[in-house]
Symmetry: C2
Subunit: 353 residues, 2 copies
């Protein structure tokens, strides 16, 4: 793939690495490529980060045909750029696209484009502890027409944003509200795709849980409201009586890359890990019997998110005495050390640029 590179006239000042937040600052350049029916993906270009010209009739503004990914680049102590299982993100992007009738991209071309962009933006990868450069590849429908059908034109882009430490005030457990009214996804729907509408659909539940004092919601299955699915925008794990369990990929759960890595990591350490349907009642019962050791979420943003409290309107359980569980802490250290190149990468997960 021949990428056209358009130089910026001037470069931005880098933001304070201690106050980055998430997705607030964007780098000097972005990658862009267009798809047209009959032409395929054309015009791969790296150019200055700037506003797009979108027609008011662009399909994305009306029918939300879009998919995205999120991954992070880290700087090793030797100054190398490290990526964590990046091919998984681009393969998953194609899985999401298939569900949403979006044309697939060539994974190698997309990765090459990302590597080139990261090379140009090397100075934007922050080195302050806990920080990283968040990479957002995304595709959206961009035909100017109002008929409800798949678009004849799509745009694929990669933008970069330096992000702060997720746990800037220390690695600490969160309180989770068990959502029993709103539903995120259902088998046959689009829950397994990283598509725009899933996130829009989650905002109200998240907003109401925050008002009640919780940081995230635990989603239950969309039909019986009995089985555990995800927590906020993360996958969820439970350690019960020494065994680690997590909901199986049933078509309405996102196939998390951190989820998969945690499963591999735990199995390699000799843990029994089971992917299966998990009833909420089972978790509450285990807590009552003193058998619920730990609960944690897994995702790109937080890596591991320990859960200290789980509550419905009727019942509340405290987990690991509201502290960070041992396994959560170990997984967090282990994964972030691999991602940052501090510990040896025995799984071959890290791509060094």
């Amino acid at each position: 793939m021949n990428i056209t590179i358009i130089k910026a006239k001037s470069l931005k000042e880098k933001p304070d690495p201690k106050a980055l937040g998430f997705g607030k600052h964007f780098t000097d350049y972005m990658f862009e490529m267009d798809y047209f029916d009959g032409k395929g993906w054309i015009n791969p270009t790296i150019k200055p980060y700037e506003p797009l010209e979108l027609h008011p009739s662009s399909l994305i503004l009306h029918y939300g045909q879009a998919v995205f990914e999120g991954l992070k680049a880290y700087k090793s102590q030797e100054g190398k750029t490290l990526l964590f299982r990046p091919e998984q993100n681009f393969e998953r992007l194609n899985i999401s696209s298939d569900r949403m009738c979006i044309p697939e991209i060539n994974v190698n071309d997309a990765m090459d484009a990302m590597y080139k962009l990261l090379e140009i933006e090397n100075d934007w990868i922050p080195t302050f502890e806990g920080t990283s450069l968040y990479i957002r590849p995304f595709i959206f429908a961009n035909e100017n027409a109002l008929g409800v059908s798949t678009s004849a034109h799509f745009k694929f882009m990669i933008i970069l944003t330096p992000v702060g430490a997720y746990y800037s005030e220390g690695f600490s457990p969160v309180k989770i509200y068990v959502e029993q009214k709103y539903v995120r996804a259902v088998p046959g729907g689009v829950g397994m795709a990283k598509t725009a509408g899933n996130y829009a659909a989650s905002i109200k539940a998240q907003y109401e849980a925050k008002k009640k004092g919780y940081s995230q919601v635990l989603w239950l299955d969309g039909c019986e409201h009995k089985y555990v699915e995800e927590v906020g925008t993360m996958n969820v794990f439970f350690k019960v009586n020494g065994e680690v369990i997590t909901p199986e990929l049933n078509g309405s759960i996102l196939s998390g890359i951190t989820r998969n890595s945690v499963i591999q990591l735990l199995k390699s350490e000799g843990y029994k890990v089971t992917e299966r349907r998990i009833e909420l009642k089972e978790i509450f019962d285990a807590a009552d019997k003193g058998e619920l050791d730990e609960v944690f979420g897994t995702g790109t943003a937080a890596v591991i998110s320990p859960v200290g409290e789980l509550a419905t309107d009727d019942k509340k359980i405290t987990i690991s005495d509201g502290k960070v569980g041992k396994l959560s802490q170990w997984l967090y250290n282990e994964l972030t050390d691999i991602q940052n190149g501090i510990k040896p990468d025995k799984f071959g997960w890290v791509k060094t640029l």
Copy 2:
């Protein structure tokens, strides 16, 4: 509300009224208004129809927080502009917005903006039989940030597109595929909202049905896959043994304005109309017994869409001998005559500008 009006330097040539299609041509002007947290809705402006400048990090491109409406303006034989129950659309927009955590608009202000825009674009309302000016009000999240939460900035717009006759080759029945794999919506989800993601989620089923030779899909409930919900982007009605039945508004079905009008119209003519849960099996059984008189969809685009065939992978039924049913024809004539100002409007549905 004081609307700023920015004049266009030149006006476009009007398209051929006999070859308009749907949502392909846009008028000279559009309405735009911005919302910012702490400021509310500000800067109402009518300005030339032109591309928007959207940042690549605009939330709409990533998380699909958006709602829309669709209604039509007709020209009466006296040259007046007619709208069909427009307040219903703006009230429903607020209902959709509430579910999607989008700030509500003032219905009267929004209607005034639409009236003003229609006044300026009066020449764009086509008069050729079956044509109309389709009005698309929509709101989308426009904050430049990547955190998954409600946006601090939204844009409300109204754009106009002259549309052709839906039945350009005559009012005729369609073949419908009963979708048993993909799911559109589930109670607790966002099925009752006219939000972007619902339409993106429907594209694949629609695409696969088309490949099999059907024009639309009949959606079943998301959990048991047994109960009838909607047909394509329309509500659905069945005439069984003289009684008209339609799925009740259960939270996963869009509350159609044409649906509501059809119910009122039929009741005023003495028909028994029942809104209730309808099992697919019941419809197939009625067909077997010769008691299924008619099936039709209702929506803004087609008004009435008669169904001539309904098929699963295992079973196929022909309805009204594959012809347009008497009631479908009557409803189509009655409604379009009211909308076009040909018949008296005893329900007070038509707004004359």
